[in-house]
Structures are given as structure tokens and as C-alpha cells.
Amino acid sequence: MKNFILRRIGTAIVMLFAVMTIVFILVHMMPGDPVLQMLGTDTNPDPVAVESLRSQLGLDKPILQQYGSWIFGALQGNMGQSYSEKISVMASIGTRLPRTLELAFVAMILACIIGLPLGVLSAQKRGKISDLIMTTGASLGTSIPVYVLGYLFIIVFSLDIFHFGFAMPSSGYTDISKNAGAHFLRLILPALTLALGIAASIMRMTRSSVLEALSSESVRALRAKGLKEHIVISRHVVRNAFIPVITEIGLQMGNLIGGTVLCENVFNWPGLSTLLVKSINARDYPLIEGCVLVMSAIFILTNALVDILYGLLDPRVR
């Protein structure tokens, strides 16, 4: 078991390095000069100032040296200074990251709360009308793009077309310390938008794996032995069905992170994805590298955790 965990962590670290290298290469191949960007966009830049800034930022050094110093620094937690925000990359990311994590975390929880029970329910009610409704809903859920769903929510709840009598805020962000109520009010719609698509996938996977477990040989044997139905379900079906569901949740992590990019755009949630888009537009190399690195690291880490969890539950995998 320990070997398995170590191996899995080792793989994760290798993947992390691969990501860092690819990001560095891609970012430095991007057109657009950050030095010109920094000097103010409405001026004709003075060549002297351009060169002095370039050497200040270390952009005139050979590319391998830049790579080396970045990797070295990143490992120590120092990802350099953001060009556009003039503070350290860690500080920039530090303010945004919790917001995205909060959004993703709440969305994932909502997705599980909605998806898991519905999946089990529809498996039990297989063939009936309620199952048909639920699976159709799930199909719809995986088919609606995040931003379409987001705007549908905005139309219904913010533009108040059905005249519910109140309008939810459609965008913006309030610090939780300033006004917790307003903060959570603004969290609901984006989290729900992100959650529904993932809930649909979870529901479908839960349903099919529960069905599979229900009809598996071991369960049939247990039934034949005369074991009570609810024990069969609770002890064996759920345990075995849970494993592919966990894999599915792990797979959805990618969708979750990708979904935050669109979700934060629609609802103007000032999180990490918004920072990433802004830094790409500003050609802020250190910030782009930092953001992509952090997001990919989270992705790789959660995948590793899911794999380990999977290994814990299913000894065959080890």
C-alpha cells in the first residue's frame, strides 16, 4: 500500500515538472512584448527605457537561464514579480486562489449532493417514469454549456422575467468579512451553475455503476443465500458501486477547473481563472506561469488523491 502511494506521488511530481516546462515554453513563445505593455499603452516608448526595463526584468538573459531560475525559484515558493500588478506572483495568486477554491469546492459538494442520491434513486426506480425523467434531466445537464446555463440563471433570477419579486445579483463579489450575507448571495448562482453539469455526470455514473453492482454475480449469490435486501444494498452494492463513482468525480475535476474559467467570466467572480485571462492579455509571463502552474498542480494533486483513494477501496488496483 505504501509503495503504491509513493509511486503515485512520484508520478504526480514528474507530471508537475512536465507541466512547468511546457508552460514555460508556451508562455515564452507568445507574441506580444510585456516590456512595451508595462511602459504604458498610450505612449510611444522610449527605446532607452525599453532596454533598461528589459534588463531589469531579466528578459535579456538566455532562455535556459531564465528557465532555470524560474524552476529554482518556484520550488522555493518564489514565482517572481507580476509585471502588471507590481507585487509578487504569490501575493496576486494568494488573494484570488481562495475565491476560486471556494467556488469549486462548494460546486463539487453541491454536485455530489445532487448527483449521488439521484443516481442511486434512478437506479432503484429503473424502467419507471421517474427514472426516465431523471436520466433525461441528466442528459440535458451534460449537454448545456456552463455559460449558457449561467445566463439562463441570470435571465430567470437576475433579470426577474418571471417577477419573483426579488432579483439575485448577477455578478460581482463581496468580501466575506465585509458582509457574509451578500457574499453568499453572490456565490449561489455561480456555484449552482458549475455544479449542475457535474452533478449530471455523477448521477449517470452512479446510476450505471449501481445497476451493474445490483446485477453482479456476487450480489445475486448473496440474494440467493437469503440475505435481506437492504443489507445487500447497503453493505455490498454501495461499496462496489462507489468505486467507479469516485473515478468519475476525479475525472470531473478537469471539468470543474475548466468550468471555473467560463463561470467566473459569466458572473465576474474575481478568482484565479479571471486572473489567468487577465495575465494572458497582459503578457505577464510570471503571472501566467504562476496561474497555470497552480491550477495544474491542483488538478494533478486531486487526481493523485482520487487514485490513492481508489487504491484504498479497491485492492486490485494496487
Binding site: 507574441p31 435571465i155 433579470l159 475548466g258 489567468l276
Partner: protein, 277 residues
């Protein structure tokens, strides 16, 4: 023939076909149905409501939304179909080769290919677009790159499995040449999981292309694409809601149909998970 009969008996398959066939028809013949040139501006009549002249109204440039809708499916379908085909061909090839060679070399190939999976799709796509520019051609390339690992994995694991099975060993003992074994036997066996992955990839690719176009990183104006139309429409939600809702509806229907098709194919080719409806 048996397969076709099974397909037509599957309700999901038929339902998705009912949606997809008109979409394909629109993609091919949209230019003949469209009442206006999708690029033609009527700047004196911007953001108009639906009328006889403009069945779905006009956008902020006074262009006919209905006509743009009919043309707007093409980029999505092009990117997703061509991209999936590319990913399928290249990915399957990599996976087959890696699986057949096996051992450390095969492993190395697979690990390299799988580094692409370390990135959430949209991040990689955004960076590539910033690097090489937007547009249908680059988006197709992005789709190919992003989905190679999925096909490679399937091809690889199936190849390994089949390699161990008896009749391949029989083939080897009979003395058939290597490429024939590779392509003939193994490929026939991994057909069904690949088919399913193809439909999954197509729907993911449509989502990716429309998402990127929504962000302005996809199909470039003035050519229309559904995702791009939704993105343009968001500034005018309170003025003309239907500007956003029409392309949104068509986009969702198409993705739904592709997903249903994928489900149907899974039912047909992987009977373990068959549903009663």
C-alpha cells in the same frame, strides 16, 4: 445489417438522429435556406425584434440572426468532426504502436502522450490560441492535441489485452506478417470502445469550440459561430433576450443529440449497460 437493425431499434439512437439529421442538413444546405447574407449589415435596424423580414430579429450590426444561426453550425461541426478524426487517427496509432511494442518503450510513449492530460482542456486551449492565434484551423489543431491521449489510452489498453489473447498467438504461429496482425485483428476488437470515445470527443469538442468562441478566442468575426453569437449577445440581454436564446437552444440541442447518440452506441455495442428504454 444486424448492427443497423439494432441501431434503429434503439430509441435514443433514433431520437438523436431526428435532431442530428436536420443539423447536418443545415450545415450542408444552410446557405440556400438563409433569407439574408449572414454578414450583411442593416445598421439602421439594429437589435430588432422578430419580424417577417427577420424571422429571429437582428443583432447589434443589424444582421439577420436566423441567417447567422444557419451558418453558425459549420465552424462547430468542422472543428469537432475534423478534430476528432485527427485525434482518433493519431491517438489510435500511437496507442496501437505503444501497446504492440510493449515494455519500457511502449510505456514511455504512453506517458509522454499522457502529459497532455495534466492540463485542464480549456487552459491548454487558451494558451495555444494566444500563441498561434484564434480561428477554425487552430481550434481544430487544439482539439486534435487535447484528445489524442484519450484515443491512445483506449487503443493501448485494448491492444495489450488482445495481444495476450489466443487467436493472436495463433496468427503469429501461422506466420502472418506483423502489420496485418496489428491492424486486422486488434483493431476489429477495439472498435466499440473507440466508437463510443468518438462520440464523447465530438461533444466535448463542440463544447470547447463554442466555449472558446464565447470568450472571443475561437471563430473570428464576422463569420458566425453559435458560441460567438452567445458571447456577443450577452451585452444585450436586457434589450433582446432572444438574441442569446436562439443560438443557445440550437447549441444545446446539438450537443444533447451527440451525447444521446453516444449513449445509444454504448447500449448497442456494450450490452452490459443496456437500459430498458
Amino acid at each position: 445489417m444486424n448492427t443497423i437493425k439494432r441501431c434503429l431499434q434503439n430509441k435514443k439512437f433514433v431520437f438523436s438522429l431526428i435532431i442530428l439529421l436536420p443539423m447536418i442538413f443545415i450545415a450542408l444546405f444552410g446557405s440556400s435556406i438563409a433569407p439574408h447574407d449572414p454578414l450583411e449589415m442593416h445598421t439602421t435596424n439594429t437589435l430588432a425584434a422578430a419580424s417577417v423580414q427577420f424571422p429571429m430579429g437582428t443583432d447589434e450590426y443589424g444582421r439577420c440572426i436566423f441567417s447567422r444561426l444557419l451558418y453558425g453550425i459549420r465552424p462547430s461541426l468542422t472543428v469537432s468532426l475534423v478534430g476528432t478524426l485527427g485525434a482518433f487517427l493519431i491517438g489510435s496509432f500511437c496507442g496501437l504502436v505503444a501497446g504492440y511494442i510493449g515494455g519500457k518503450a511502449g510505456n514511455a510513449i504512453m506517458r509522454t502522450v499522457e502529459t497532455i492530460l495534466c492540463f485542464p482542456a480549456i487552459l491548454l486551449a487558451m494558451m495555444v490560441v494566444c500563441l498561434f492565434g484564434a480561428g477554425v484551423r487552430n481550434l481544430t489543431i487544439v482539439v486534435v492535441i487535447l484528445y489524442i491521449p484519450h484515443f491512445a489510452r483506449i487503443a493501448n489498453s485494448s491492444t495489450i489485452k488482445v495481444k495476450k489473447m489466443e487467436y493472436v498467438e495463433n496468427d503469429i504461429s501461422v506466420g502472418q506478417t506483423t502489420p496485418k496482425i496489428l491492424i486486422g485483428t486488434i483493431f476489429r476488437n477495439i472498435f466499440s470502445p473507440l466508437i463510443i470515445q468518438i462520440s464523447l470527443t465530438i461533444s466535448s469538442a463542440i463544447l470547447l469550440e463554442s466555449g472558446l468562441s464565447f470568450l472571443g478566442l475561437g471563430v473570428q468575426p464576422p463569420e458566425p459561430s453559435w458560441g460567438q453569437m452567445i458571447g456577443d449577445a450577452k451585452a444585450y440581454l436586457s434589450v433582446n433576450m432572444m438574441y442569446m436564446l436562439w443560438p443557445a437552444l440550437f447549441l444545446c440541442l446539438t450537443i444533447l443529440a451527440v451525447n444521446l447518440m453516444g449513449d445509444a452506441l454504448r447500449d448497442i455495442f456494450d450490452p452490459k449497460l443496456q437500459d430498458s428504454f
